[in-house]
Symmetry: C3
Amino acid sequence: MFKECIENVRKKTPLIHNITNYVTVNDVANALLACGASPIMSDDWEEVEEITSLCDGLSINIGTLNKNTIPSMFLAGKKANELKHKVLLDPVGAGASKLRTDTAVKLMKEVKFNAIRGNISEIKALALGRGNTKGVDANVADMVTEDSLNNAVDFVKTFAKEAGCIVAVTGAIDLVTDGNQCYVIRNGRAEMGKITGTGCQLSAIMTAFLVANPDRELEAAAAAVCTMGLAGEIGWSNMQPSEGNSTYRNRIIDAIYKMDGEMLEKGARYEIR
Amino acid sequence: MFKECIENVRKKTPLIHNITNYVTVNDVANALLACGASPIMSDDWEEVEEITSLCDGLSINIGTLNKNTIPSMFLAGKKANELKHKVLLDPVGAGASKLRTDTAVKLMKEVKFNAIRGNISEIKALALGRGNTKGVDANVADMVTEDSLNNAVDFVKTFAKEAGCIVAVTGAIDLVTDGNQCYVIRNGRAEMGKITGTGCQLSAIMTAFLVANPDRELEAAAAAVCTMGLAGEIGWSNMQPSEGNSTYRNRIIDAIYKMDGEMLEKGARYEIR
Amino acid sequence: MFKECIENVRKKTPLIHNITNYVTVNDVANALLACGASPIMSDDWEEVEEITSLCDGLSINIGTLNKNTIPSMFLAGKKANELKHKVLLDPVGAGASKLRTDTAVKLMKEVKFNAIRGNISEIKALALGRGNTKGVDANVADMVTEDSLNNAVDFVKTFAKEAGCIVAVTGAIDLVTDGNQCYVIRNGRAEMGKITGTGCQLSAIMTAFLVANPDRELEAAAAAVCTMGLAGEIGWSNMQPSEGNSTYRNRIIDAIYKMDGEMLEKGARYEIR
């Protein structure tokens, strides 16, 4: 039940350590607060192990990675593994530079992630970046559409099996899989693509959902995706004629803030393949 | 009169140098503009002394401190002292890592602050971090409530005397003291805790209030706290049913922007102990 | 026709690489999305050349420059030049520190810019920082007013000729020149000065306009300035009585999002000198 997934976040108020980019960090913090979690941002190598030890989960987002923060991602990730905290990777821009692809791939090798969330191009870059991974179709179309859906589901399931964790690919249609089952989610609106940071926010929220629902990670990850998508729909329904993407950004976080279990249960639109 | 405190900020438009975190920095800048001050953000050690020399006050916030910005905090702080500028410390997360506690404690030793603003846990960490400071009750409850108020006032007064500056502890009840008098302030709303950055904004605004009211620092600091809390109340009164924490964030800064001396004087709720 | 300038941005959706400050970066990203472009932020020297190669234009903003990002500005700028991408400089705070002035002046020497956008004081600092530049009147008033307009136009034209690129000076009256013609623009509202980041947003948007209109750079730059100013006017007209600078920030970006060619053509207020 997605209902319980979000209710557990609000009940347990997990503290999430974010090593994240400076573009969307404020929205990430407010989105975590909106869903009932608490954010801490910290990225200096000297303190990240200590900070992550205080927290319940860790979200690593490479959106504006740099020489100072990359080592912190590894240190925090390993410490979080040691403590059996939930850890999520958002490989922002993997495929756009060697630094991003290599960092993400190396993180996947050295840190055990509970979930990876990205768009289809980023996930494809990770899959290819890992070498001639068997079963990965390099021809998978970059956009998940109704036409490419079957192939995309296969690709994501295969990648999740290889990665050994939940993989969430978000876009027009969202896919969330543990390698066996795949949630195919049709919440959200195209206009969300005109706001920076909805993906980053989702990654942080997903980490909180995983922490608060440790025994049903796949369902929790899917519930987080539906929460974000549904918030996009509700936020849009509250838009006034003069409003554009900047206000929409606020209305989406507001909708997360207002979301309860019943609303999520009722509004979630998904099938399982 | 709090009225004059805010009016002086609007009249003098002090330029405030902020060495601050990247999470809430945009809101800090807009909050300073909202109260009539001007922001400059700069944290490279090569320029901070020069930048702070152009300014009227300095606000040091350790929220995302790192190896590059820590030396800048010391350089800027010492230069500001030399120039007799008002300097404030916001020890974000002191107590959460050795790096934060040590940096804040060392800043307190090497820089003369006019004010320190934090939550009770941060202030407690500073008090304990300074060693077995006499008179500091390590058992002071972390939340300032009506029940723990007397103890908290005593603790904060003692700490302010030792620190030799104004100390503002914000939370459900806010305390602002110079070690002798303590303003006990009951403005604000609990929902402000669901927004990232209201504390950071207050620290920056408080710096502007100190600069603009050099001869009555305690009153100015208390006026800043009441301004923020009252803006939280007014912002809340403007909320529409569909709105949540993201819009609330805007409405609070908007309310600071609209605040005049009469409103502050009338809306401030405090007693002096 | 300004109409076509903005329509080309929406049609071509240029991808803009931003090396920018952490204060206004989120608004910059959303403003780019609002006008129809796409943002990428990246500032680590190891990846900036690769990232800028994927993009269509580069906007360099020195607002929170530091030891790590300065080398990236040079690397990205030179690579963008090599690829004949449009490159813009926003010399935030030039004149406020030696580091800023020197960095901006050195960038102008080593990177070929298509446009420089700043306020009059920043542009003056660049002009003086270049040495005893002939024809630059050090006495040009810092504010461009109707009274100082003739002198200011002369100064900006001279500077543009020397810099060999378009120069946009924004303030109460905006000037955009290639050294020969000068657009004198009277869109915008004074209240925009009470929001952090409208200048940064404009620089990024201007880069997108230059990319999408390669054969008429001057007109494109002027159209970008009018877009921002007109959005300020429209955003203001949508303000509710309780709203202040934080909501105004959103309303301006919203107005960019809603702006079409007809609105821009009709609302642009300028003369050419």
